[in-house]
């Protein structure tokens, strides 16, 4: 079994080996296919597997924390919380049905975003009028989760105005709020909100085609 070899290798490694940046096996030997296996073991409270999982994915998850929270200390606090959550939630990961890496990234993003948003205590007194958007309403049949839509989102992003695609990307990748996006693109807050909401509807419509 691969995992046994992995564990042996881990035991032979010192902490400094493990923490070295760019240790090649981290990426090459720990492919996506092995993460569900590790998660399954973590769900059974296997601490060796938990360490192997940490070694395999902490750089990526820390990259997310750092990009969203900007401050290194905050990002490390977040990473700690994220791995505590992973330990407790590993049993909710259903292997084979969800990809492991996006699942882990979502935990990291959600936690970092919660921290980011509560840090700023923004007062977005936007009134929730979305009536103007309803024209673009969705196909009611398009409700089921279609797996393997994967990269179609990239094509759909290209169908958006470049500005708006960039705003969607900045919101997702940098965790920018409506207010920050409005300032960056120099448009009123409500305009930015309409941009993003319309973009989301267009993306959904494109994905459903």
């Amino acid at each position: 079994m691969f995992l046994t070899e992995e564990i042996i290798r881990l035991k032979q490694m010192t902490v400094s080996d493990v923490m070295q940046p760019n240790v090649p096996w981290k990426v090459s030997a720990m492919g996506e296919t092995d993460l569900p296996d590790l998660l399954a073991r973590v769900a059974l409270q296997d601490r060796v597997a938990f360490h192997a999982l940490y070694v395999a994915v902490s750089p990526k998850l820390f990259g997310i924390c750092l990009r969203l929270l900007k401050v290194r200390n905050d990002a490390e606090d977040a990473l700690q919380e994220i791995f505590v959550k992973i330990w407790y939630r590993a049993d909710r990961f259903v292997g084979g049905q969800t990809s492991a890496m996006p699942w882990l990234c979502a935990i990291a993003r959600n936690h970092s975003l919660d921290m980011l948003r509560s840090r700023k205590q923004e007062t977005e007194n936007l009134d929730d009028e979305m009536d103007s958007l309803v024209d673009d309403a969705l196909d009611p049949e398009a409700q089921t989760v279609i797996s393997g839509e994967g990269r179609r989102i990239d094509r759909c992003m290209q169908e958006l105005d470049p500005d708006r695609a960039q705003a969607v990307r900045a919101a997702y990748v940098d965790g920018m709020s409506y207010q920050e996006l409005a300032e960056r693109y120099d448009v009123p807050l409500n305009t930015m909100r309409t941009w993003l909401r319309r973009s989301l509807l267009k993306l959904r419509e494109c994905m459903d085609r």
Partner: protein, 243 residues
């Protein structure tokens, strides 16, 4: 939950809200409201899951960074130090559940039990000649949450084995769930602790039990989960495969 009369406008609104949540643009309070809704509204949770999957290709933009060496020891400290007995306790329980020796012991016990029944069946003791039903609860080692209730009907020779929750500080039930992909678990019903353990799947769910879905059994308060999803630990799970 999707109501039959839900308008397209509502659905579009929900799609946008789910997308905004995954993008991350919502303020803190709104995020919490959405998270609350994800927990109790399956249709909405599915929308969020789909956005999550769709937008996850942008995760590629996050460049891996190496955290300080102090982080992992801190995580370990939080999870495994003496202060966190709870984690260790539940860990023990779960390890027990995944432990082959426990299951082998249980299997052997039931096998011996069957042999015993077979022998008694051939030469029934006087108590059985009356045709009275008999029952045994087959338990694993201490700390397990589930046992098998063996009901023996001497006349027909039928021995039914039924999973039941072990009585704990308060009565518990076992609840059966179906998990389809990213969607939240859907209850198929509580496993009855009378009768023969049959769970009759509701009409609306029958077509949804398809090849590849996961069935899981969780430990719940007596009568089943008080909320829409499981609230207790998942004791057993497995994938449904066509035979």
């Amino acid at each position: 939950m999707t109501k039959p009369d839900q308008s397209e406008g509502d659905r579009a609104r929900d799609e946008v809200l789910a997308g905004e949540y995954v993008l991350g643009v919502l303020p803190a309070e709104k995020r919490q409201q959405v998270e609350q809704r994800i927990r109790c509204d399956r249709a909405f949770a599915a929308m969020v899951a789909r956005w999550q999957e769709n937008l996850s290709s942008m995760d590629d933009e996050y460049v891996p960074q190496v955290p300080s060496e102090a982080v992992f020891p801190q995580v370990q400290q939080r999870l495994f130090s003496r202060g966190s007995q709870q984690a260790q306790h539940s860990g023990f329980g779960r390890r027990l559940w995944s432990s082959a020796p426990v299951w082998r012991t249980l299997a052997l016990t039931s096998f011996l039990m069957l042999i015993g029944v077979a022998i008694f069946g051939l030469q029934p003791p006087s108590s059985l000649k009356t045709g009275g039903q008999m029952q045994a609860q087959l338990k694993g080692q201490d700390g397990t949450n589930i046992s098998l209730l063996a009901n023996y009907e001497p006349r027909s020779g039928r021995l039914t084995m039924m999973p039941v929750a072990n009585p704990q500080s308060e009565p518990k039930s076992l609840e059966l769930w179906m998990i389809d992909g990213n969607a939240p678990p859907v209850s198929l019903g509580v496993i009855p602790d009378t009768a023969n353990g049959d769970v009759i799947v509701p009409d609306t769910m029958r077509r949804r039990i398809a090849n590849g879905v996961t069935l899981a059994v969780s430990l719940e308060p007596k009568g089943g989960s008080p909320s829409l999803g499981p609230t207790g630990p998942v004791l057993l799970s497995g994938q449904m495969l066509a035979r």
